[in-house]
């Protein structure tokens, strides 16, 4: 039996080195009103904000980074699932769409989702970029034009195909696809000296993961940037038709405002809070939005699951969480036909496993007790490529917190049913003894035939069809078409001077792959162009 509990991890935390000289303000300690000025204010420190901060500060611009989440670094990453959800995830990992149809895992900490993602790096598919050009008038982002930017970020973040053998969980994907004659390949990961232990989702305890926390944010701080964490960007300061700063509310340890206001002044503000947060900032600020588009077309990759039970130990909680994928069905029906889906595996720690398996009482107990022999496959639907699919809409609660309304419609349910069948077939081909799709009414099927017959009887309806997503995209659509887009292809907001959006919220559709490298590449491109403009 695999058991890593005697392994000890003792690594240096770069954030705890006083010699680094970094200018870091902790919002929890700010109780007085104050004003700070910079050339550029960046709201959010994830993939978009981190990359932008490093590039702009390297060009000699004074940057202030604002982050609502806390600063947590490797000394704090104790491989504790509960502490990770509480400290590193939006809404303590309790975020879900408005009707509870999909759970949403999204980061909320210095470094954003890059601190908790599973390190899979894919260049934006050509088909996706072409669709943006054709349907939204996105300019200058063909795959040939983007490849140098992807290359630049792959070098910066040490992205390489995983060279060690996949863990038993990911080997299921390889074996199943090989036996079916389906495509599979190794996943490129942004890691350096990875210990292959499997805790990417709880904050990398060894600093092997090349998240923004250990790469671009330190890079920006080395070049004179200031980081304010535990501080919520409340509203943009808008004067006439220009943004001139950001009103920030420092938060105490319980995420409650301390009562102070930090006023940040700059001629350039970058919204980089990611999907959901960036549109919400503009909505709270009542930013001009003549066509009512802000927050619309917010996309997830609606992701279904299949749980397989094997004779031999899988230990799905240990080892690099994602190392094998399959694109067999991603573009099977073209870019804009019936839903396509990318297949991967997911790590299964007990808390997330219990939440996703669902059920109640003894049947649920029997299921989770088989965790050591369980493999979990996922299928991520590409959403937003079909006229029926406008994705979700960001709303504001009475207190200004965002909420995502994302109807699970027939298009997604049809895609989920097909994805379930594919995953069931794949896992039986890999040697599973029993497999269950993520549907509240489904039990474990003991053969592919029984599974096919069983799925045919299931009622594919919202909420009882188990869906989640760890990828939030869109809400501030990029493109030339004014009737559908709010942001230009260079990241500038169409209706305010000085405001840029550099994060995943500008994507006109979902990506069709784990989005981090898409955000890195586009952010590098647009932040570099912005630096050219500001230094001209």
């Amino acid at each position: 039996m695999q058991d890593l509990t005697t392994l000890t991890i003792n690594v240096k935390d770069p954030w705890k080195d006083p010699a680094n000289g970094w200018d870091v303000l902790d919002g929890r300690t700010i109780t007085d009103n104050r004003t700070l000025e910079a050339d550029v204010i960046i709201v959010g420190t994830g993939a978009g904000g981190g990359v932008s901060a490093e590039i702009l500060s390297q060009r000699g611009l004074k940057v202030i980074l604002v982050e609502a989440g806390k600063l947590k670094s490797s000394d704090d990453f104790k491989l504790d699932e509960g502490a990770a959800y509480r400290d590193l995830y939006q809404e303590g990992a309790l975020r879900a769409t408005k009707d509870a149809g999909m759970t949403v895992l999204q980061g909320r900490t210095v470094g954003g989702t890059t601190v908790v993602n599973w390190t899979s790096c894919f260049r934006t598919p050509h088909e996706t970029l072409q669709y943006w050009h054709d349907e939204f008038g996105v300019q200058g982002l063909s795959r040939a034009q983007m490849d140098p930017w992807f290359q630049q970020m792959e070098t910066r973040l040490k992205v390489e195909k995983w060279a060690m053998p996949p863990n038993a969980n990911n080997d299921v994907m390889k074996r199943g696809c090989d036996n079916k004659g389906w495509h599979s390949a190794l996943i490129p990961r942004n890691v350096s000296g990875c210990w292959n232990i499997g805790y990417c989702g709880m904050g990398c305890p060894t600093n092997a993961k090349q998240s923004m926390l250990v790469t671009t944010i330190p890079g920006a701080l080395d070049h004179g940037s200031t980081l304010i964490h535990s501080a919520q960007a409340d509203t943009l300061i808008i004067e006439g038709d220009s943004v001139t700063g950001v009103r920030v509310r420092p938060l105490n340890d319980d995420k409650v405002p301390t009562g102070a206001t930090v006023t940040l002044k700059a001629k350039t503000v970058i919204a980089a809070g990611g999907g959901i947060q960036s549109p919400a900032l503009l909505m709270r600020s009542e930013a001009p939005d003549p066509n009512g588009l802000v927050g619309k077309r917010t996309f997830l990759h609606p992701t279904s699951f299949a749980f397989g039970i094997y004779d031999k130990e899988i230990a799905p909680y240990y080892g690099a969480p994602q190392s094998v994928y399959s694109d067999e069905f991603t573009f099977k029906h073209g870019v804009d036909g019936p839903a396509g889906y990318k297949m991967e595996m997911m790590p299964m720690h007990p808390g997330l496993s219990g939440a996703l398996m669902g059920g109640f009482g003894e049947r649920a107990r029997d299921e989770i007790e088989r965790l050591p022999n369980l493999a979990a496959s996922i299928a991520m639907i590409r959403d937003g490529f079909h006229d029926d699919n406008q994705g979700g809409t960001v709303e504001l609660r009475d207190n200004g917190e965002p909420l995502l309304d994302y109807p699970v419609n027939e298009y997604l349910l049809d895609g989920t049913k097909r994805a379930h069948l594919t995953m069931l077939e794949m896992q039986f081909a890999a040697g599973a003894k029993e497999v269950r799709p993520s549907h509240a009414d489904a039990g474990y099927y003991k053969s592919w035939k029984a599974a096919r017959d069983g799925v045919a009887q299931l009622d594919y309806a919202p909420v009882i069809t188990g869906l989640g997503s760890a990828h939030v995209m869109g809400g501030l659509t990029m493109g030339a078409d004014e009737s559908r887009c709010t942001v230009n292809s260079d990241g500038s907001y169409k209706h305010l001077n000085g405001l840029y959006v550099i994060d995943g919220s500008v994507f006109p559709t979902s990506i069709g792959a784990n989005p981090q490298l898409s955000i890195y590449g586009l952010s590098a491109r647009n932040a570099s162009a912005l630096a050219d403009k500001l230094k001209a």
């Binding site: 058991d3 007990p350 109640f360």
Partner: protein, 177 residues
């Protein structure tokens, strides 16, 4: 299709269900089951009425997940309270709205299929209630079932005592110099 069943179903919905939905939160406020009483003793977020309402349900949902760890329903309820720490005020507010609604017998009937308070149901009755509730085709019932059971599971199994009962050996040890 049997029109009679459809009609009966419709009458049931309009007579009790939609009335509860339309006025439930308001009724909850009138009956004193509102959200301003502060957390119960020993809890950071759940109010006393939530603890009274939910603890038996937590025990039934988790079942032997608790006893196998030598734990009680109250331990499961406290774990749920800990999980809420990470939520935002709006996240908790939405949960409290559902719980306020479920203080009412009519709402419990509409959502779970049973009028009786969870505390007044035997273990077998609670399992039957959960079976009926999880099979309900009402979207509010489905939302409430998932919205309550999913965090109950996450809350318990992120605890090392709960996690170890799944066969997961546990994480490596982090040493901070």
């Amino acid at each position: 299709m049997d029109q009679g069943i459809n009609r009966r179903g419709f009458l049931k919905l309009s007579a009790a269900g939609s009335a509860v939905l339309a006025t439930g939160s308001g009724l909850a406020l009138l009956t004193g089951c509102s959200s301003n009483d502060g957390p119960a003793t020993g809890y950071k977020h759940f109010r006393q009425q939530d603890v009274d309402l939910l603890t038996p349900l937590v025990g039934a949902v988790l079942g032997s997940a608790l006893s196998d760890a030598g734990a009680t329903a109250e331990d499961g309820m406290k774990a749920f309270d800990d999980l809420l720490d990470g939520g935002m005020p709006g996240t908790r507010g939405a949960l409290f709205q559902v719980l306020d609604l479920m203080q009412l017998g009519a709402a419990r009937w509409y959502i779970t299929g049973s009028w009786a308070s969870f505390a007044d149901q035997s273990d077998d009755e609670l399992q039957q209630t959960l079976a009926n509730w999880s099979a309900s085709e009402r979207s509010l019932s489905r939302m409430a079932f998932k919205g309550l059971t999913q965090p109950i599971y996450m809350a318990w199994y992120v605890k090392p005592t709960g996690a170890r009962t799944t066969g997961y050996p546990g994480p490596p040890q982090k040493i901070v110099a």
